[in-house]
């Protein structure tokens, strides 16, 4: 009986820790695009290279800066990330490569190397994860699936991934304008596309370079690959859902936060009363 209780006492916390780790690892998939603004003037190009395959997309946005993670989300490519503390989130899987994995950054084999480039198009290896690297108009993000050890050659040059970064004065709001992709340099801002269900409102332009190996138009459905760690939807983890239900992050003041603020105010008030009482004595 005592041995069984001991066994339960050991197993339950381990299970809980495992669930917590799994919930952190399963934060994946293209989330709600932030770039819903149709006439976005700023662009960031994304280049993805694995084996001999090169894919690119152009993501437009309206804010002054955009996170690399948001670019990855808005590009429509399937992806999975894992949080690595202060470094931010590392990319474990893009476009279902690797098809299966146990460790995001494995001790042997290949992994996704993350590069950034400014408007000049010169790739440099990124110092932080995708969730903390911010980019501005004209920048590029690159991901290359590279074997561990040896040099980390950057992906192919990103030039031409995005149209000229100078915004077109008046984007035409006609939906028909979106249907035909135009060559680089003359492409109107990608926001002129009509957000449809297949594009899920993304403002990513089709690949203007049109390379032989490029397969730029991704359907969001490609993200729902099954049987892959990290490819499930973020809501798949019960622990994550439970945690989220009690949070007040982002969406204004939750009742719990209000209670916490009241408690803090009461304790500060008590301190003040004690101070006044001592002063009187």
């Amino acid at each position: 009986m005592v041995r069984r209780l001991l066994r339960i006492a050991v197993v339950v916390p381990l299970l809980a820790i495992g669930l917590g780790a799994a919930s952190a690892a399963t934060h994946t998939g293209p989330a709600t695009p932030l770039c819903a603004e149709a006439a976005a003037a700023n662009h960031v190009g994304i280049v993805i290279e694995h084996d001999t395959t090169v894919k690119h997309q152009c993501v437009s946005f309206t804010s002054t800066t955009i996170l690399a993670l948001t670019v990855l989300q808005d590009s429509g490519f399937e992806y999975a990330t894992q949080l690595y503390g202060g470094i931010g989130e590392a990319v474990c899987q893009i476009d279902n490569v690797p098809a299966q994995y146990t460790a995001c950054l494995p001790s042997s084999g290949s992994y996704w190397v993350f590069f950034v480039a400014d408007a000049s198009g010169t790739w440099t290896s990124a110092a932080h994860g995708v969730s903390v690297t911010s980019l501005s108009d004209g920048d590029y993000v690159g991901f290359r699936y590279d074997p561990l050890g040896g040099a980390n050659p950057p992906p192919v040059a990103p030039r031409g991934v995005c149209p000229s970064s100078t915004p077109t004065p008046t984007p035409t709001p006609q939906p028909t304008a979106s249907a035909s992709p135009t060559p680089p340099g003359t492409t109107p801002p990608s926001g002129t596309q009509t957000p449809g269900p297949t594009q899920a409102g993304r403002s990513a332009t089709p690949d203007p370079a049109g390379g032989a190996t490029a397969a730029s138009s991704q359907s969001p459905g490609s993200a729902s690959a099954s049987g892959v760690l990290g490819a499930s939807s973020p809501a798949a983890s019960p622990v994550a859902t439970l945690g989220a239900s009690t949070t007040g992050a982002g969406g204004g003041l939750s009742p719990a936060l209000v209670i916490a603020i009241l408690a803090i105010a009461a304790l500060i008030g008590l301190l003040g009363i004690q101070g006044l009482r001592r002063r009187r004595q």
Binding site: V239, T247, G248, L253
Partner: protein, 274 residues
């Protein structure tokens, strides 16, 4: 109040303060501990020095994190990239993270502070379990010598000044340091002889007063231990989550159960009186 009950409370406070990086819970622990410290401290004890030291520690934590960590979306200042370590973007996110760290340090220290500022030193040493009694007595005695050394340093400095000594150069400091060290050695030998003369370490341990557990002490110890255990369980199960301001600062996630377990640390305010 029972020293062991206060010990259990302090351990619970430190556990909660360090179990999460969420500043809301840390602030609650900090305020509970500060209230208890002010309400129950020994007569004549001032907490001002401790509070100033904690403010300085928190300021250092904020400054270090803000200057050294350049991640985050909201930059409020950009230092020239040529400056080593601190050059680059200084972000609000890093400053908030530093603030949260500083609050955590302050909360943990304030939770442990009642052990020295509320209890008499002999009561604390007496409350140690038998296995730790000798070590505790030795550490307690050694710590007790520190204020004595400070006092003797002041006295010796004053005496040397009366003889015309001025501490202008580092080379002259041995004039002060040598007598201070000799006095401290002499004091510790005298203390050791006095303890031996009183039979320290010669036989079974006796107590000046027997520890009595009143109902209030049981309430404090039980509520504190239950609060810490509940909080840790909530943390492991994921109901209480850490707060991380990167890349974009958001309001910390809060759960009512977590707030309640932090507030259970205020129990000594209700049941203990000095």
């Amino acid at each position: 109040m029972n020293p062991r009950a206060l010990g259990a409370w302090a351990l619970a406070g430190v556990t909660i303060a360090l179990a999460t990086g969420n500043p809301v819970y840390r602030v609650l622990v900090l305020l509970c501990a500060l209230n208890i410290l002010i309400a129950l401290r020994r007569p004549g004890i001032s907490v001002r020095g401790l509070i100033v030291a904690l403010i300085v520690a928190a300021a250092i934590a904020i400054a270090t994190t803000t200057l050294a960590s350049h991640t985050g979306v909201h930059a409020f200042l950009v230092l020239p990239a040529g400056i080593p370590v601190i050059g680059g973007r200084l972000t609000l996110e890093a400053a908030f993270f530093g603030l949260s760290t500083g609050i955590g340090i302050a909360a943990a220290v304030l939770a442990a502070a009642p052990l020295s500022l509320v209890l008499e030193p002999h009561a604390l040493v007496d409350a140690l379990p038998a296995a730790l009694a000798r070590t505790g007595a030795a550490i307690g005695t050694a710590l007790n010598l520190i204020p004595g050394i400070a006092r003797s340093a002041t006295e010796i400095r004053d005496a040397q000044r009366m003889r015309g000594w001025r501490s202008r150069r580092v080379r002259e400091w041995p004039d002060l340091a040598v007598p201070v060290v000799l006095t401290a050695l002499e004091g510790s030998i005298t203390l050791a002889e006095a303890m031996e003369a009183r039979g320290y370490g010669s036989g079974t341990r006796t107590h000046y007063t027997a520890d009595v557990w009143h109902r209030a002490d049981i309430v404090v110890a039980a509520s504190a231990v239950a609060a810490a255990a509940f909080f840790v369980a909530l943390r492991i199960s994921g109901v209480i989550s850490d707060w991380y301001p990167f890349p974009d600062v958001t309001a910390p996630p809060v759960s009512i159960a977590g707030v309640v377990s932090c507030l259970a640390l205020a129990a000594p305010l209700l049941v203990w009186r000095r």
